[in-house]
């Protein structure tokens, strides 16, 4: 509510100017003293306005919340096999750090179960450890929340809080091994430079992590780049975690510290209903005791039709070519099927192998239609464990996580 509340760091003057211009348009007036707004500050009115606005560098994303900033991508804008930065969803729990200096940025490894606590500069990390580039699927645990009933609180993500860029960095395990872990190590926990919404410095906006077994996988990364460029400010510049296949919240942005813990991490958004689901199926709308909730680990099998866009017209007699992606958390997708009759019959699409473990997979297929009329084409993936996407909404949970129901598009045959 006050003008000193910053929100979003930007990296150069040109984008800052266009940003201010965009905001001026959004608040319906020139921003007085707009030229005095320091880099990284979003005008206060943006946190309150109902007017649509766009995020610079992210054309076409749907803004769900502007404080904290959250935005998702329409399915047809996710058609690239490797998601460009401009198409990757934005998820924030707090306010990004105001001033980021990559040259002085450090990452410290500590916690109860570390042998030798160490602090690395970004340069140390780049030179000391093997550099890796991996395509890893990042999906918000709440992607699909909008379809649950009764509704859950939180951002009403539909389908677009997912993407698969190539991340540039190092393996987390190499850094953990460089410091050494005691036998009682259980979990890693990140601490980041973003700020709690209340701006209370004693509170973390979010501090989550993963079990040691996940941290030690070859695809758990400390990343400084995306698609060969430095991380965009929205995505954690200059340093973040990427734990492919698990809820995006395990992939902390703006990471300053990683603790090796002798217990399951109990940081902000590790407890209560945050990123946790009931241990057993519950009736929709139920109140579930905390002790009956468990932390979400691997995300479930899921797919998207990214071409064509829903609502497409097809001439009778023509077949429709479709394509998209499928992913399955810690697993691989084994098959992708399409239906033009509300799931009564299915045809199998061509499905590619992932470019590396935990990358989403591309599929393509043809569907033909027997007569004119309204159709829906549904896509259904099955993972390497034989587990399928459900056609309707899966089990209700208090915060509306893990909706992996079949995606569908409308098709008019004329």
């Amino acid at each position: 509510m006050s003008s000193e509340k910053p929100n979003l760091p930007l990296q150069d003057g040109a984008s800052r100017r266009s940003f201010v211009k965009a905001f001026s348009a959004a608040v319906g007036a020139n921003i007085v003293f707009g030229n005095l707004i320091p880099d990284g500050v979003v005008p206060v009115a943006m946190g309150q306005t109902p007017e649509p606005f766009s995020i610079p560098g992210k054309p076409g994303l749907t803004i769900l919340n502007d404080r904290p900033l959250n935005a998702e991508t329409a399915a047809h804008l996710l058609n690239d096999a490797i998601t460009p930065a401009s198409r990757l969803f934005v998820r924030n729990n707090g306010l990004p750090p105001m001033k980021v200096d990559a040259d002085s940025w450090t990452l410290s490894i500590g916690g109860e179960s570390v042998f030798n606590p160490k602090t690395y500069t970004l340069k140390d990390l780049k030179s000391k450890f093997e550099n890796v580039d991996l395509a890893l699927t990042l999906e918000c645990g709440g992607n699909g929340r909008a379809e649950f009933y009764p509704p859950a609180s939180g951002n009403q993500w539909t389908i677009g809080a997912v993407g698969c860029p190539v991340w540039n960095g190092i393996r987390l395990k190499d850094v953990l091994e460089d410091c050494g872990m005691k036998d009682d190590a259980v979990y890693i926990a990140y601490h980041s430079a973003d700020r709690h919404l209340s701006q209370d410095p004693s509170k973390d906006a979010i501090s989550r992590g993963v079990p040691i077994s996940k941290a030690m996988e070859a695809e758990s990364m400390i990343a400084w780049g995306m698609n060969g460029e430095p991380l965009p400010s929205h995505h954690g510049y200059p340093l973040r975690l990427v734990c492919g296949g698990w809820p995006g919240s395990t992939s902390g942005k703006w990471v300053k510290q990683i603790d090796i813990r002798n217990q399951v991490h109990d940081g902000t958004k590790m407890t209560g209903t945050a990123y946790r689901v009931p241990k057993y199926p519950v009736k929709a709308g139920a109140t579930v005791p905390d002790e009956d909730m468990e932390i979400i680990e691997s995300m479930p099998v899921k797919s998207l039709i990214t071409f064509p866009q829903s609502g497409v017209e097809v001439n009778l007699g023509d077949s429709l070519k479709l394509n998209g992606h499928a992913w399955a958390g810690d697993y691989e997708v084994a098959s992708l099927s399409l239906s033009n009759d509300f799931g009564q019959t299915w045809v199998e699409a061509d499905l590619k192998k992932p470019v590396n473990r935990l990358a989403w997979q591309q599929w393509s297929g043809d569907v033909s239609f027997p007569k004119k009329g309204y159709y829906e084409v549904w896509a259904r993936a099955v993972d390497s464990e034989g587990v399928s996407q459900p056609m309707l909404i899966p089990g209700w949970n208090p915060k509306g996580y893990l909706n992996n129901s079949c995606y569908r598009i409308a098709v008019y045959v004329v």
Binding site: P151, H196, T268
Partner: protein, 113 residues
């Protein structure tokens, strides 16, 4: 808090003038939230840290709105609301409550577009 409190008061006063001229229920042009009884309390207590989109994109019943208030108090530094609390819940239940018109859970609707 003093400065924020003053700004809240100032902004609320401006909104009241705007709606008096309209003569009927409106949404607040600055926040997009419904202007109704106790909106001033919501404004003063509930959108100090986060955007109003935390309200406008969701629908919850009174019980679940109360859970959100508790969560905000336990985790995020919201102060005790005292006698304002039932009034705030009245406002949220009435204007951001759960009714059948928002969703029929028994129907998976056609997409159409």
């Amino acid at each position: 808090m003093g400065l924020i409190g003053f700004l809240v008061f100032f902004a609320s006063a401006a909104v009241l003038v705007a709606t008096d001229e309209e003569g009927e229920e409106k949404t607040d042009p600055t926040s997009g939230m419904v202007i109704d009884e106790h909106w001033d309390l919501v404004r003063a207590n509930c959108i100090v840290c986060h955007s109003t989109k935390g309200f406008t994109q969701i629908r919850l019943d009174r019980n679940n709105w109360e859970k959100i208030v508790r969560l905000m108090q336990e985790k995020n530094g919201l102060w005790p609301l005292g006698e304002m609390e039932p009034k705030i819940l009245d406002y949220l239940e009435k204007n951001y409550g759960l009714t059948d018109e928002h969703h029929n859970p028994k129907i998976r609707r056609p997409l159409l577009d």
